[in-house]
Amino acid sequence: MRRRLHRHRAAIASVALLGIAAVLVLFALDVRTWQSTVTRDDIRFRALPAHQALWRPSTILPGDPASLLIGTGKAMAYRHALQYFWYTRAGNNPESNENAPAVRASAQNRMQSLIGSAPTAQQRSDAANMLGVLVVTAPTPGGDRGAVTQILTRAAQYFQLAISINPSNFDAKQNLELVLRLQRPGKGKFGRDARAGYGSGRGRGVVVRGSGY
């Protein structure tokens, strides 16, 4: 048996190398699929933020080793959190039929995780800014004064955190300005302007490119 293996060792080695080569080709294809899917879905998200099944490429190799090697986890977590933020504005998650409060809670969880784990300071700052937006836009039926004060204080803390992480985060600065004016509204035109922004979605970054409220 050993002698036979020795005689055919070249053939066995070539078969093994062919197998490895095939796996590597499939792996390269999976990497390419990831690249094209992320590029395509980033554009899709800008046009249709509530589009379903974004950033989920159909890869060939089981267990998606390409994703593990490239390290897509954190980048995808940021994108999915962004989409959840948009679901909160739509009021539901079309993929799981979650209602508005559950979507808000999920979005807040994701943003809070990202503040500590996102790969770049800009993403961590954006996550803190969006968490502040989620907090300040939480519905407070009955207008409980104590609750509103607490929420504004917490939102201001998140906006300040966003600014401290990334001092060039203009959206967070503007959102902080709005919240501070709501806490202590002025009598002039600017104070009224801040009120208009709160709750009605007319504040900074409500358009596609921004991330404020």
């Binding site: 209602n99 559950a102 809070q112 968490l131 907090v135 519905p139 609750a147 917490r154």
Partner: protein, 282 residues
């Protein structure tokens, strides 16, 4: 200069001793490796065994030093729900773990500080056990918080529990929320905020739902995670089911480390045993 060695004097020199140099090194390496692995496994076993089987209640996550029960006393908690509250409280007492207790409705207050003896909770159980039945309706004794009952503000209860843990300087504390989860709409924003705070402070929350609606369960699963729920039936003991749900979790780590130790010992016997003299009659 020749250094003194432990070699026996007068022993006959082996002609092919240099040829045994490589196998001797390999054997030494295997012996050292096995000895290090055995020592490390034994130390690991000791550490794992220290925390195993200490009777921590399954309602609190593993690694929790103590917990605070946040009990919903709003007007929606009454009648048949009381029976489940009583069972839950008894279950926590049976777990023999130090606890604290806060109650909440529209507001919250602390009844027992964290690290209170579990038996202290028994004094509250009679208020949730019916004195008698009027027809099929249970009649309960007057409780001190009858006038306190009102709407449901779960955020207030969780906040009080979190403050109680902080005040008692508990480092690895947890909160057990016992509620029907029918929270006031006005409490939504504060509840979300409190959930964020608890996560930031790394305070795990477990929930015993008291006949909660699927909608409310979904919301709380989103707030505190799907695995936050404790099935209320784990507290009950029936004639057919003897599930000791309030018990220490299975010590899987301990078992695995024990198996590893056995495997290493077997390896030691296999590779480091004395050479048998084949062909020599005993």
């Amino acid at each position: 200069m020749r250094l003194p060695t432990l070699h026996r004097r007068g022993a006959p020199a082996l002609a092919d001793l240099p040829r045994l140099h490589l196998p001797a090194q390999r054997t030494s390496a295997v012996r050292l490796l096995l000895a290090a692995a055995l020592a490390a496994t034994l130390a690991w076993l000791f550490v794992v065994a220290k925390s195993a089987g200490t009777g921590r209640a399954a309602v609190f996550p593993e690694g929790t030093s103590t917990g605070v029960v946040a009990l919903d006393m709003s007007a929606s908690i009454s009648g048949p729900v009381y029976a489940r509250v009583a069972t839950t409280l008894r279950g926590i007492v049976n777990a023999n773990q130090s606890v604290g207790l806060t109650m909440f409705s529209d507001t919250a207050y602390e009844l027992l500080p964290p690290n209170s003896p579990p038996g202290a909770m028994l004094q509250f159980v009679p208020f949730f056990v019916p004195l008698r039945y009027y027809g099929s309706s249970p009649v309960f004794q007057q409780s001190p918080w009858d006038t306190f009952m009102g709407g449901t503000r779960i955020a207030a209860g969780l906040e009080m529990a979190r403050i109680a843990l902080k005040r008692a300087s508990v480092k690895h504390g947890a909160i057990l929320l016992v509620s029907d989860l029918d929270d006031s709409d006005a409490d939504q924003a504060l509840l979300e905020d409190e959930a964020l705070r608890l996560r930031a402070d790394h305070v795990p929350v477990r929930i015993v739902p008291l006949f909660a609606s699927p909608r409310d369960r979904r919301l709380f699963a989103a707030l505190f995670g799907d695995n936050a729920f404790v099935d209320p039936s784990v507290f009950t003991h029936t004639a057919k089911r003897h599930a000791a749900s309030i018990a220490a979790p299975q010590p899987w780590t301990l078992i695995l480390v024990g198996v590893l130790l056995v495997v290493l010992l077997a390896g030691n016997e296999r590779f480091n045993g004395r050479l048998g003299a084949s062909g020599v009659p005993a």
